[in-house]
């Protein structure tokens, strides 16, 4: 039983990271119907940024964290402006290829700048553990879970209780009508990219003490976060998080209880079953637009 809870907590921590990347997928998809396959690589870049600020420049952890997230927000905005906006409106394939290409580009450039060795940073969460009876939870995993909860609460409040957040939801639902309301749609889309990149960067920073910072870490996690988003019903924000949690927990439990090899397959088996039963995912659209 103890093992189970131990694994469950690890799974939830991993699931939070998947969930945060999936959240980025969904935010961008909802607003612009663009699937950004470079989302995992944005996370990777966030990790390298925080390594640069903390490991190389010797900044305080929290300051480095903040800088990395802000830098990635700017990076996300620049990506939208330079790469995506000019090809928006062309066939989906072009845009998908552009984001896949961006992913390759980021991985190569990160390899060139920071090398291909595994990098590590010292964080306040690197070593400590929390003991609850016999249960031992590492601080690094706990920090991922707590930070995800805080981040989600902040995003929830932003999207529901601020004018700009509501305008973002409105733009996602009906871009043409958003124009008619005088909502600056282009700026809103830029901001959504900034938020997505910042969320990815947060995931990257939180993950840094758990796995190593490496130029391929984004690809591996991005490929797991994508099914998480699909599982949640691509287009639902709570769905993305819950999908991430499900994938993370299943993967961890399968790795512990099932024979070797099942770890990476089990999430996809679950995904296939869910899609057979509910083709729109767990939280897919239930309400249709009236004509």
């Amino acid at each position: 039983m103890l093992d189970f809870i131990q694994q469950l907590v690890s799974g939830i921590a991993l699931g939070c990271v998947y969930g945060l990347i999936a959240l980025g997928f969904v935010l961008i998809y909802k607003a612009t119907e663009v699937v950004n396959f470079a989302q995992g690589d944005l996370m990777m870049l966030g990790g390298f940024f925080v390594f640069t600020f903390i490991g190389l420049m010797g900044l305080d952890y929290w300051l480095g964290f903040l800088f990395a997230v802000c830098a990635m927000a700017v990076f996300g905005m620049a990506t939208e402006r330079i790469l995506i906006r000019p090809i928006l409106g062309y066939p989906q394939f072009s845009i998908v290829m552009a984001t896949i290409g961006l992913g390759y580009f980021l991985r190569s450039v990160a390899g060139m700048i920071w090398g291909t060795d595994d990098l590590k940073i010292e964080t306040p969460f690197s070593t400590g553990v929390l003991k609850l009876g016999d249960l031992v939870i590492a601080h690094d995993k706990l920090s991922v879970i707590v930070a995800t909860v805080i981040l989600c609460a902040v995003l929830y409040a932003f999207f529901n209780y601020t004018r700009m957040g509501t305008a973002m939801r409105a733009t996602s639902e009906n871009m043409l009508a958003a124009y008619y309301m005088g909502i600056p749609v282009k700026r809103v889309v830029s901001l959504i990219w900034a938020i997505s990149a910042a969320v990815a960067a947060t995931a990257g920073v939180l993950l840094a003490p758990i796995t190593f910072i490496h130029s391929n870490v984004g690809l591996a996690l991005g490929l797991k976060a994508f099914p998480a988003a699909v599982l949640g019903g691509f287009g639902s924000i709570p769905g993305a998080l819950i999908g991430g949690l499900i994938i993370g927990v299943i993967e961890t439990l399968a790795g512990f209880y099932l024979p070797q090899g099942w770890k990476d397959v089990a999430p996809y088996v679950v995904l296939l079953i869910v899609l057979l039963v509910r083709p729109h995912g767990l939280f897919g659209p239930s309400m249709r637009k009236k004509v």
Binding site: T166, E173, N174, A177, A178, Y179, Y180, P184, M287, K290
Partner: protein, 258 residues
Amino acid sequence: MSDDPILKVSNIESYYGPIMAIRGVSLAVPRGKIITVLGANGAGKTTILKTISGVLDPLKGTIEFEGKAIQRMDADKIVRLGLSHVPEGREVFPFLSIRENLAMGAFLRTDRDGVARDLEKVFGYFPRLRERIDQPAGSLSGGEQQMLAISRALMNRPKLLLLDEPSLGLSPLLVKEIFSIIRRVNAEEGTSILLVEQNAKMALETAHYGYVLEVGRVVMDDTCERLMNSKDIQEFYLGAKEESARGERRWKKKKNWR
């Protein structure tokens, strides 16, 4: 016509890809008046409104709003000038509540008190919206969505309101209700209105001046009273039958403007 129209459209031509949807249309909306554009399906009515509100860019021609050229301006900048568009098919935000939809209508405004007053005002026009204030707009009936779409545009306190087929898909009773509100907004707030309609009878009764559009051209324009009495309008838009000299209806009658 007044010498200082709030909106002046001159010789605009708009294309959907290679297809010319409007072929040199000119019209003017005098301040404080209701102007209607009549025409059959595909005549280019909606295209005119989209071109005015900046969603489509005209290839040629000029659009002046309060003396300022607005053709090829970004749509959100045009709204900022005080020109609101109620699009065909309502286009509400389905998952946002009524309250949030209306708040989006007032997105550009910063005067909280004024927004609260206008919210009361639109609830005065359409009390049913108040009852459903926290429901998602997608759960409303078609008529209620139309009310919401009009209210949402009014929340911007526009000087000029573009209305695209507000009667589309609504019951005759609801159409009456909505048109009486349109008249009230015009009379009480002095909002100028450009109304595009297929329901010619309703539109001519509501508006002061009308334009008749056929395949992208204005073929006739006059005061609504005179339009209503015109033989062509009666026959082709109002469905009146004319007895010919031989006592039977001629089906291939020529329109006078061709």
